[in-house]
Symmetry: C2
Subunit: 362 residues, 2 copies
């Protein structure tokens, strides 16, 4: 099918749809439930609560250093399940294909999606394909939804976060966002910045196995980046989060290119990173465990949770002009704020991303 392209008839539910399903999708996706080609997969789940999530992927370009839309579609949904404490089990995949999309590209994406699912230990058990006319899509969009099981006794969430906790991350910040943006902007690096796109369930399951009581909360900082995710935490808990700028693991080339583009890595998307809020007495042990994991070699403790100040900050070493800004309309919904402690000891408010012109990063 190398030079063939998607036709509208590939989406009409008839003979060409069936051929597409058999020749591409079932060639790579082999779960028995999927091969049945019935309306819904029938599955068994072990005991526990069900975790369920969905994400749609519209990343542009669809192939980028370190990944592609297929890998991303699996990793993204696996990670959303993993950070809630679930063991991801089953995924669905819904494709929107634009008329004219090369079948060879579709095959490459599906093969990558299948490979990533295998790596993550999840099965694709149901799928759907729709075709839209040229100009009503952009090659390929993929939705994945997933379910997993949360062991009884596992309790992660905002309600467990308390002042004194530490904030950890399993590695460098902003790689995915910068990989996409530099590819789009046509910027060449000597060593290309690769997306960190990866399924994180191996990391999160290891952490929950080894530190069941010390892990309070996990979240993957995707769209909006570390700064936006931590703003969600501060708004939902009422606590402040103080990030230590000198502790942030950021690749030199990411920092440089971000400055060139006028961007802050703290607002760039990550697709293989997890922010962990943990009890401070376990922080060192958790860091060591993370650093032994292939996806955690650059892990760092980047901040701490403090009682909310209601938007103001008045430490001895602070720079008053930066710190007394009134909270904006978004942050006003919660009392907590996120502050960046600079190497000189000043504190800068990190707000949620607003009106950033970076669509289709995932």
């Amino acid at each position: 099918m190398t030079e063939e392209r998607i036709l509208l008839a590939h989406g009409d539910g008839g003979a060409l749809t069936h051929r597409l399903v058999k020749e591409i999708f079932l060639r790579y996706l082999r779960h028995p439930a999927l091969r049945e080609l019935t309306d819904a997969a029938l599955l068994h789940l072990p005991e526990g609560r069900l975790a369920m999530t969905t994400d749609t992927f519209v990343v542009k370009p669809i192939f980028f250093p370190g990944g592609d839309i297929g890998k991303l579609a699996v990793a993204g949904t696996v990670n959303d399940l993993a950070v809630t404490g679930a063991r991801p089990r089953y995924l669905t995949a819904g494709f929107i294909l634009e008329e004219g999309f090369p079948l060879a590209d579709l095959e490459r994406v599906v093969a990558s999606l299948a490979r990533t699912a295998q790596e993550a230990g999840v099965a694709i058990v149901a799928g759907d394909t729709k075709v839209v006319e040229r100009g009503c899509g952009d090659g390929i969009y993929i939705n994945t939804a997933g379910v997993g099981v949360v062991a009884d006794g596992c309790d992660l969430g905002y309600h467990r976060i308390m002042p004194g906790d530490v904030v950890l991350i399993n590695g460098t910040i902003g790689d995915h966002g910068l990989s996409i943006l530099s590819k789009r902007a046509g910027i060449e690096f000597e060593t290309p910045v690769e997306s960190d796109c990866a399924p994180l369930n191996g990391v999160t399951e290891m952490l929950l196995d080894r530190f069941p009581d010390s892990i309070r909360f996990m979240r993957d900082p995707t769209r909006g980046g570390v700064a936006t995710t931590l703003n969600e935490v501060s708004q939902s808990t009422g606590c402040d989060i103080i990030l230590d700028e000198s502790a942030l693991p950021i690749r030199e080339e990411v920092q440089g290119a971000a400055e060139l583009l006028g961007l802050d890595p703290l607002y760039l998307a990550n697709e293989g990173k997890v922010l962990i809020v943990a009890a401070s007495d376990a922080a060192e042990a958790i860091l060591s465990a993370l650093r032994e994991h292939p996806l955690g070699s650059d892990a760092a403790a980047i901040g701490r949770v403090e009682a909310g100040r209601g938007g103001a900050f008045s430490p001895g070493a602070g720079q008053a002009s930066e710190l007394t800004a009134e909270p904006g309309p978004v942050s006003a919904q919660g009392k907590g704020r996120v502050f960046l402690r600079t190497p000189l000891g000043g504190h800068r408010i990190l707000d949620m991303l607003a009106g950033d012109p970076l669509p289709r990063i995932c």
Copy 2:
């Protein structure tokens, strides 16, 4: 928000995304798991096997007589679960919005989606929104994925179909497809043909409760219509299916408009219909039960299952020229065929839909 439109920034994961989620999605979708705004919903499921499915909706136009893309997105996924014998429980919803899409239309769609979910007794427990640039989408596309529970002991499937079984349907054929096509073609009817779009889990659960042993198989004939769905059955079982043309419930206006457009209602999509293969001795009782249900008043027995003839048909009354055609490349994959028995006693082969120019019917 009446005159506001979707901006790219509504999809960047930052402040505008959060506002959209709070002001539109959470206004109508109120499941506690969704309001938590965490990465995955945590849910409890009763005992049984898990059924899981996904479907993407790209219907054009998004508002049509009898429904809209929001209603369709819930009904379609609920129905895919219901026909496997599951009680649908939880749905996810993933939106792809095109820059410039009116927020008022989004609100109308989300309200309809929420209302249909409530009618069907399912909860929307996770969601996602992406925004693509103008010209890379078409207003709104929605993916829904769903899970449900199949009671132990419930066993529906191709393997239970056998010669002698009857084929039933809960009402008129082709209404959804014709509603969409006539709206697109600008055809006006005195009484507009409404889409049959509806969640069918009430019907299927009633049938499984009352006729647990006699229902062999159910399937909703959506894209490709009744003819394509029954071709899937015949190919998967090796059995022939003989439809009785005079028994097909087709609205007069649908038949007339389909002829005008050069289409066969048997290939038009349905979104509130279920094909039921059942033991013949229960057929009458099942028909009566269907006709007592609000979604079954036009129910009919439309055909029977017979042992496969390998593509040929040689009854005394047949018209040989129509019946000895070699099976095409698709049908060659199975031995069974679908035949339409005409009022004059002839038999016409009904193949799977091939190359039909009707994209975006659902």
